[in-house]
């Protein structure tokens, strides 16, 4: 397999893909109109990014408060855990296709469908993270005169940051992955390249795949960095 990797065809493909990203190419299908190039790549990347962030925002809006509330109260554990498990089982392609067929295409509908994918990991992880904060620490906080909300804000959330972020990152990965096939629901994204070999050629397909991978990795890095920023040094010492 290493041999196949290093052989000319594979390398040539990568070269062709990189060309595609940066310079418009001639296409056999569209008859004269060029495809690819930096502008188009950026346009589709931004479209996918926008979609991802919108869906993530919606997921957070729904799942975060609920998870915080339930986790602090300690109720609804079964619900949160089961939802987390069920969320993992949702087949993305079926979800998108069904949504498109039943409700219709468009950014709004797709955002809601993507949020459906993002809510379970965020809800489950938020619940578990808050609920698993050491009871003695919460007792001390309550006993010293913090209100319930202060306990959540000053004690439980900071101590749950790693788990919370695990949920957000998981949701992001699922959403980015599904946003890639947004074209099936009539929304532009890098999936246009990946699914459109006829139009964009094999170079376009590979280029799309590379850019999607980079997009996903960049988001992951960004969240990882944010997490490190928000994690108290005291926590890092404890787990060392």
């Amino acid at each position: 397999m290493i041999g196949a990797l290093l052989s000319s065809p594979a390398l040539a493909s990568i070269g062709g893909a990189i060309e595609f990203i940066f310079a418009p190419q001639d296409s056999s299908v569209t008859g004269g109109r060029q495809v690819g190039g930096f502008d188009q790549v950026v346009e589709l990347t931004l479209s996918q990014l926008e979609l991802t962030l919108l869906a993530l925002g919606l997921s957070l809006l729904v799942a975060l408060p609920l998870g915080l509330y339930l986790g602090h109260r300690g109720t609804g554990e079964l619900f949160a855990v089961v939802l987390g498990n069920v969320g993992r089982a949702i087949p993305e392609l079926a979800l998108i296709a069904f949504m498109a067929a039943a409700i219709g295409v468009g950014v709004l509908n797709l955002t809601i469908a993507l949020a459906v994918l993002g809510v379970p990991p965020i809800l489950a992880n938020t619940f578990v993270g808050i609920h698993q904060v050491d009871r003695a620490t919460v007792d001390a906080a309550r006993g010293m005169g913090m209100t319930e909300f202060e306990i959540l804000r000053k004690v439980e959330i900071p101590l749950a940051v790693p788990t919370l972020f695990a949920g957000v990152r998981g949701a992001t990965i699922a959403i980015v992955a599904t946003a890639t096939i947004a074209p099936l629901a009539g929304v532009e994204s890098l999936g246009d390249f990946i699914l459109g070999e006829n139009v964009y050629g094999s170079n376009g397909v590979l280029a799309g795949a590379i850019v999607v991978a980079l997009l996903a990795l960049t988001l992951e890095f960004a969240f990882a960095g944010l997490q490190r920023l928000l994690t108290s040094p005291g926590l890092k010492l404890r787990s060392a």
Binding site: T137, R142, M144, G145, E150, P233, G234
Partner: protein, 399 residues
């Protein structure tokens, strides 16, 4: 009204309130048996009241009723004359120090931030909080520099002390302590108990102290409430009275068969006139030391090696004294070292444990204050002064 708004002095100011239980009752759900049953007692301001009893007797619940981490079913509790029912729980708790067994330090905050937690809730200015934090760290015997560390970097004993400091930070009117030294090894526990008593002598807070250990109760308490299952008080009296006149069979059993021995906990080493040992310094001419030994009024026949701060280092033997100058390493090790604030019981235990004839007694700073032996203790116990002390201990609380 809240004393927390007063200046942050730790001595003399009456920053303490009395706590009065009036028929306080707590029932959980539909259960017929209450966890706390009609508790009525008064803790005068500035005193330590120990709630002691077997597991499940409701002592922790009774304590938690005061800061409303558990709410009353019937009856009332007055802190400084004001009913706790009239106060908003969160605000009430900011005026009451709260120390729990597992400590519950915030792992994500520095020691200084932990200590400053309640001041921050009360809106103190940063400088005031910082000054208070430094003051408290010194008070509990920790290097103020440790304030920048995180709980994970401290030992268990240090964390426990920080827990106490955190409770004291906003100069509360009342302190609630639930088995605060329970999770510590016996040696450090003794030390922490002594430290806390020293602290209390300075700050004079009203303390509700929960423990299952009768020895700890006798040592720490100005007054003890022995509780039995069902949340009732079997006897509420000074430690001496409980030891000498237990109210019923339950109290007698709970105190234990070695009641007489426990009375040794009512007195402190500082109550005794200690003997003096001749002191020697490293490098001193042994001739001088031998001269001291030969003096007619010498009480202890062995010289004690001390450092420049008068802290004991070891006992000198005849072989040590045969040299020209006093050696740096004495022949005999130090053996048990007794603190002057130790209760007699602990001192006797240490002496017997170390199988030493004499043990050096040091003050709070570790400097030599005298020498103790079993002989000295038994002489003292037989004296009329000791009997007088005991009798008066029945009335007044520890001092």
């Amino acid at each position: 009204m809240p004393a927390a708004e007063a200046t942050s002095q730790t001595q003399s100011e009456p920053g303490a309130s009395s706590v009065r239980y009036e028929g306080a009752t707590k029932r959980y759900g539909d259960s017929a048996k209450p966890a706390v049953d009609g508790l009525t007692l008064e803790v005068p301001a500035g005193e330590i009241c120990v709630l002691v009893g077997p597991s499940g007797c409701g002592k922790t619940t009774a304590m938690r009723l005061v800061n409303r981490t558990v709410d009353l079913t019937e009856g009332d509790i007055l802190v400084g004359g004001e009913s706790v029912r009239d106060r908003e729980p969160a605000r009430l708790r900011r005026e009451i120090g709260y120390v729990i067994q597992q400590i519950g330090l915030f792992p994500h905050r520095t020691i200084a931030e932990n200590i400053g937690a309640v001041p921050q809730l009360l809106g103190w200015k940063k400088e005031r909080t910082a000054a208070r934090t430094a003051e408290l760290l010194t008070l509990i015997g920790l290097d103020p520099e440790l304030g920048a560390r995180y709980p994970a970097q401290l030992s268990g004993g240090q964390q426990q002390r920080v827990g106490v400091a955190r409770a004291l930070a906003a100069d509360p009117l009342v302190m609630l302590m639930d088995e605060p030294f329970g999770a510590i090894d016996p040696i450090n526990r003794e030390r922490l108990q002594n430290e806390f008593l020293r602290l209390q002598a300075q700050v004079r807070k009203t303390v509700l102290f929960v423990t299952h250990d009768i020895d700890e109760a006798i040592k720490m308490g100005d007054r003890i409430a022995v509780m039995r299952e069902g949340g009732k008080v079997a006897q509420y009296a000074t430690p001496a009275e409980i030891l000498m006149s237990p109210a019923d069979e339950f109290v007698e059993d709970f105190v234990g068969a070695d009641r007489a021995l426990k009375r040794l906990a009512l007195m402190r080493v500082s109550d005794i006139d200690l003997w003096e040992a001749p002191l020697a310094h490293v490098g001193q001419a042994t001739a001088e030391v031998r001269a001291k030994l030969a003096a007619p009024d010498v009480e202890v026949a062995y010289p004690l090696l001390v450092d420049s701060e008068r802290r004991p280092l070891g006992w000198l033997s005849a072989r040590d004294l045969a040299a020209e100058t006093v050696p740096a390493r004495p022949d005999s090790p130090l053996g048990p070292v007794i603190e002057r604030d130790d209760v007699m019981r602990d001192a006797l235990a240490d002496l017997l444990q170390g199988a030493a004839q004499y043990a050096p007694v040091v003050d709070a700073a570790g400097r030599i204050a005298g020498v103790l032996s079993v002989e000295i203790i038994s002489e003292f116990l037989g004296s009329s002064r000791a009997k007088q002390e005991e009798r008066s201990a029945v009335e007044r609380p520890h001092d």
